[in-house]
Amino acid sequence: MELTKNITLGVYLPGKSFIHRLDPRTKIIASGIIISLLLIIRSYPAYGVVFLFVAAAVLIAGIPAGYAFSGFKPMLPVLIFMWIFQLFLYSSSDAKTLFSWWIFSATDAGFHMGALVTLRVIFLFGVTTLLTLTTSMVSLTDGLESLLSPLKAIGLPTQELVMTMVIALRFVLILAEELDKIIKAQMARGVAFDRGNFIQKTKKIFPVFLPLFISAFKRAEELIIAMEARSYTGGRHRTKMKTLHLGRVDLEAGLIMIAFTALIIYLILITVPPI
């Protein structure tokens, strides 16, 4: 039982690679671009290029491939379910039926739709994980804050939003460790989480989530008091210790991103989508 082991999202792997050295804003914008492209890509060759691009980034960042993939493990059942769901439920007028079962029939359109949706989720997750693995939470939020700052003009509390995010992310690991202990504490009282039918299994969630929620609220309350004691009153009068600077690496990354985007758009235009 080690829950924290399989969580890769929100973990930061310090390093000195090209990707680590990029300004957080560059990385956020680049991730944003890839994610937007993912939403319009509907062809396998384009996904192939995205795969090569992301894989290259993982290699350059020096993240062990096995570790990068381990984050997908807990998501696997959801991904399979999503695919099956699409396989049976999606259909179009000219779809060919592959096979039928009871009242459901699987079509080739469903097959492709499932594949595309699943690939989209996998890459969305992969890109975000890559971003957080190579960017510390602090520079990530500094970057977000700087990117969002124009929105302050229309009255959006950007600094507060960003602060909330920093804290939420800091507590992901702490709470995961806590969850691990709570599960063990209940296992020690004879709870067998892997036994019983669905209802019995669901009932076993309470002894775990109640203590977790209570503890999370308690921590939140203490944190608020501690922040208040350190004169935190929201973002308005705050200054920052660090300011961000764009460098040569960011220029290089920018050029690479332009080339990549152009290639993907070209591929989207010339390839015929499977559905």
């Binding site: 308690k218 009153t233 210790m241």
Partner: protein
């Protein structure tokens, strides 16, 4: 001596989870003097935290007054200035550190004060150096020992350059080594930087090193004095649910066995010296 904090007839009531009104502080009057290190002790639930939270305006009095450096805590206009001069460190470092990088966390307070960038950098450097945390400045607090985490929390308050620091059971969750580390640093800051220090604790070994101590029970102050004077009163201390420091406990027991020891022994060294001087 000039008091930095003056509390007069302070009463505080809150509504408990079951809807009952609980009198957490009941007519408390006390002073904290400039430059001293004051221990506030008492069982859990005796009201020491509630009292201390009035010192930096986290709570405001329901009745009575709390004056910090000439300013009343009850007046909302003073809150910002009071929090600047009185800092507070809490029990669990995990629940008070904001950032995932040590130096960024220490900068949090000065950033809140809206200081210029250069000044923030200077203060962070100074706080890191004062607590010998330089080696950890780029590390994540999660990778530090509990004792070191608590030192980071203290550095975060120190960087705001307060006149007074309140430490609310800062060692309750630490191992003996971490406890030692934190106590040594707190004592040194008080001595070298002249920061008024208020230590809430129920470790009597820590109280021994303080200039003065206050014992609370059921929302009231039951004893005030120097540790040396109060630990003579073994029976009263025990009746309030507290222990004597180990050396005093031993001396007390030996006296009951008929050894002619002085009544005000606080440390093991004093005990051993007194034992060796016995005829």
């Amino acid at each position: 001596m000039q008091p930095i904090i003056e509390v007069t007839d302070l009463t505080y009531m809150y509504r408990s989870g079951s809807g009952k009104n609980v009198l957490a502080l009941n007519g408390v009057t006390m002073q904290v003097y400039r430059g001293e290190i004051l221990a506030i002790t008492g069982q859990n639930g005796s009201g020491k935290s509630t009292l201390a939270r009035h010192f930096n305006a986290l709570l405001t009095p329901k009745s009575g007054t709390v004056i910090v450096d000439g300013l009343s805590v009850a007046d909302k206009k003073n809150t910002a200035i009071i929090r600047r001069s009185v800092g507070m460190v809490f029990q669990n470092p995990d629940n008070q550190l904001v950032s995932s990088v040590v130096e960024e966390d220490i900068a949090f307070g000065p950033e809140n004060l809206g200081l210029p960038q250069a000044e923030i950098v200077d203060r962070v450097d100074w706080a890191l150096e004062s607590l010998n945390l330089g080696a950890y400045r780029h590390r994540s607090p999660n990778s530090l020992s509990e004792g070191q985490k608590q030192l980071v929390a203290i550095a975060g308050v120190l960087a705001m350059k307060p006149q007074c620091i309140i430490l609310d059971e800062p060692t309750a969750h630490l191992d003996p080594k971490g406890r030692c580390e934190v106590l040594e640093n707190v004592l040194r800051l008080n001595r070298d930087e002249g920061i008024t220090t208020i230590l809430l604790t129920h470790f009597m070994n820590e109280v021994v090193h303080c200039d003065r101590m206050i014992v609370m029970d059921q929302g009231q102050i039951k004893m005030t004095g120097t540790p040396r004077d109060l630990f003579k009163l073994a029976d009263q201390i025990k009746a309030l649910g507290l222990d004597l420091p180990p050396a005093s406990q031993l001396a007390h027991g030996l006296k009951l066995k008929g050894l002619a020891l002085p009544g005000n022994i606080l440390t093991l060294e004093e005990l051993v010296n007194s034992l060796c001087q016995l005829p």
